[in-house]
């Protein structure tokens, strides 16, 4: 590595460049990793745009070889890496395979090349790449880039990189400066760097500076860790909430012990999968927006299935809640098998759209976009549902009908229709949950089974028929679970949460938000 940077250094300091040759390209592309890396470093030392483009092609897995010839293949078209001219690629050409090590080297090389790019974004990316490595040989390069940098933010980050390198330098003054500078860092790498240095440092003054920097870095890291724990709790809670919301209607309000709730979620997830497939096939350009169509599709698919179930089976079972357990259990078995025979028993792939991949980086905290979106989505669904149930006539009728069906019908409510709507609504919300789940987990025939127990726990813990209770229970369980998981591990956390539920119900035998008073018995 040192060797390479010395080479790079000469390159940048001398500013000469020469073109990539076919032999070089071949040496970089094929052979043992060690030899390829050496060849690459040699080429980089004299890099021009072609070299950069070729390295980029290697990173993108867009290089093939056949009979000692190297080809760059993009969008099905082959080109010569040396000349850039379009050339036909022989059919027996094999992919050039880069292992992790190779890819790492390629990235660093590219980063070094990009450090002086005109595009600030590229430079920023290059700095991020360099931050991972604190090789002293980088110093001249970093210093040069640092001096030339105009963007304040990038400059600051380069400064940190520089400090990290300086930290192990000979000069006590520089070490001191570096140690102080690094106090602002929020990267866990800095902490280990500082700690490492602390072990070796002999100078008392620098030691003190190092110690105080470690404390400050650790403080900001700890903040990030705590925030991450809370976030993960809320995120788990939001998923529990989504999973439970539909059940809060079909079970909480309507009293149907809906064992097929999970399968209705599964239908929503498969609907998302289908929409994704349609977009990929017919609207590849708008693929990133497939979710916008998938959300209503998932809702509708599950709602229609719910309506069919209500009309065909459930409606004959009102007033016999325990029978609904049996019937919906049967429905659940059939729906799962139906999906197995149409989509196969294996999982299907649902991708996050581009804008939901990756995460929002705040210091050492990285909050995945898909989770942020799901949290927002859960609360949007909650708000919509709460409004519908408490503010609209349909909501009123649903509550009335589910409490006293014959009398509601004597009041002029078309109970059959309200029942269908209500069940379809609950099912549709299950579908929405399925759509959301497809963004974080498996989409397979068993999707629903994994969540059904949790869904019932949440609804019941919150208090049957109590929407607010469902919300508190979901978030509470989510945060509690993640909190315990943090120190006891996932298995014990799950056990502990279940035990806590059992104990909690002793204190609140009607759930978190119990209906009190006489109306509870009526």
């Amino acid at each position: 590595m040192t060797y390479r940077f010395l080479l790079l250094l000469t390159l940048f300091l001398a500013g000469t460049a020469h073109a990539l040759t076919a032999d070089e390209a071949k040496a970089i592309a094929v052979g043992e990793s060690d030899d390829r890396i050496a060849a690459m470093n040699k080429a980089v030392a004299n890099a021009d745009d072609r070299t950069a483009a070729f390295l980029q092609a290697l990173v993108d897995d867009a290089v093939k070889t056949a009979a000692g010839q190297v080809y760059v293949v993009r969008d099905g078209k082959g080109s010569d890496p040396v000349t850039g001219a379009e050339v036909p690629v022989p059919p027996d050409a094999e992919d050039v395979i880069n292992n992790n090590r190779m890819r790492g080297e390629l990235d660093t090389a590219l980063a070094a090349l990009k450090l002086f790019s005109k595009d600030a974004k590229l430079r920023a990316a290059a700095v991020t790449e360099l931050q991972k490595d604190t090789d002293p040989s980088k110093l001249p390069l970093v210093e040069k880039a640092w001096a030339a940098e105009t963007d304040a933010d990038i400059k600051e980050r380069l400064g940190l990189v520089r400090a990290a390198v300086l930290l192990s330098g000979e000069d006590k003054g520089k070490r001191l400066e570096a140690a102080r500078l690094l106090a602002d860092s929020r990267s866990p790498a800095t902490r280990s760097l500082l700690l490492q240095r602390l072990k070796e440092e002999t100078d008392a003054e620098v030691q003190a500076a190092l110690q105080s920097s470690v404390r400050s870095v650790e403080a900001s890291l700890a903040w990030g860790e705590r925030a991450a724990a809370v976030f993960s709790g809320i995120s788990l809670g939001s998923i529990l909430l989504l999973v439970a919301l539909g059940l809060a209607i079909t079970y909480g309000l309507m009293g149907v012990i809906n064992m097929a709730h999970g399968e209705l979620m599964m239908i929503g997830a498969y609907a998302t999968y289908v929409v994704q497939g349609l977009f990929r096939k017919y609207l590849p350009g708008a693929f990133d927006w497939y979710l916008v169509a998938a959300v209503p599709a998932a809702f509708l698919a599950s709602a229609v299935m719910g309506a069919i179930l209500e009309r065909g089976v459930i409606r004959f079972l009102y007033g016999r809640p325990l029978e609904t357990l049996l019937a919906t259990w049967g429905i659940s078995l059939m729906l799962m098998q139906l999906v197995r025979s149409t989509f196969g028993a294996q999982n299907v792939g649902v991708e996050n759209p581009g804008w939901m991949s990756g995460g929002l980086v705040l210091g050492n905290l990285q909050l995945p976009w898909n989770r942020i979106v799901i949290i927002a989505f859960a609360f949007a669904v909650l708000a919509g549902m709460a409004l519908l149930i408490s503010r609209t006539r349909l909501g009123l009728f649903v509550r009335g009908v589910t409490q006293n069906r014959p009398i509601a019908s004597c009041m002029g409510v078309n109970t059959a229709r309200v029942d269908t709507y209500a069940f379809a609504l609950g099912s549709g919300i299950a579908g929405l949950a399925g759509c959301a789940l497809s963004q974080v987990g498996n989409v397979g025939p068993d999707l629903g089974q994994a969540y059904i127990v949790d869904a019932f726990m949440v609804v019941v813990l919150g208090g049957v028929g109590q929407l607010a209770g469902t919300v508190y229970a979901a978030l509470g369980l989510g945060v509690l679970n993640k909190f315990i998981e943090g120190w006891a591990g996932a298995v014990l956390a799950k056990i502990a949460v279940l035990v806590i539920i059992v104990v909690f119900i002793q204190k609140r035998p009607q759930g978190l938000f119990a209906v009190k008073g006489r109306s509870a018995e009526a």
Binding site: R393, C410, M411, V413, R518, S519
Partner: protein, 230 residues
Amino acid sequence: MLTIHNIHQYYGGSHILRDVSLEAKLGQVTVILGRNGVGKTTLLKSLMGLVPIKSGTILFDGKPIQGKTPYERARAGIGFVPQGREIFARLTVEENLRMGLATKPGSTAIPAELYELFPVLQQMLHRRGGDLSGGQQQQLAIARALAARPKLLVLDEPTEGIQPSIIKEIGRVIRMLADRGDMAILLVEQYYDFAQELADTYAVMERGEVVAQGRGKDMEANGVRQLVAI
């Protein structure tokens, strides 16, 4: 307004209503009397469509309704105060009243006169129906039936559990509603004096049959009290 012709009704194997015929006219209070278990409630439930009848016809406004669902009957203009109140326990008083307005478009307001009739309802507007006392619930049930201004008001023992002063009030209301002339009232009542006071026509049931019928004025003379007592 309402004509019931020869209806028969069974619960499982037992014959409950036997060939019952009855009429309720606009502007009149028709009272049904009878001892416990003779089938009064069953008759009203059949009328509302809550239990199926085996045979016979029910004409409302001249149209047969025996095949219709309860909600269609309610939409046609029948208001029902069931025995045992049957309010929506977990809906608030206000929401209970709104349920009574189900046949009307969504924007219809709860008629203010209901609160004049039953001031306690206004005080307890946001309390859950199930938390009310028995008598309060009964008042709510009556108000709920009146909310949509039905053409036929069917009441199953509305005085049960209600304090005397309000019974009087209910009596007054029933009379007033009948006298307005746009409503027929069918009242099942055990409380003989209350019934007699209100009846324009009466019918006495026994073992699922109508055994006596006549004009309210003649009740005393026809010995209805004794009939009910046997």
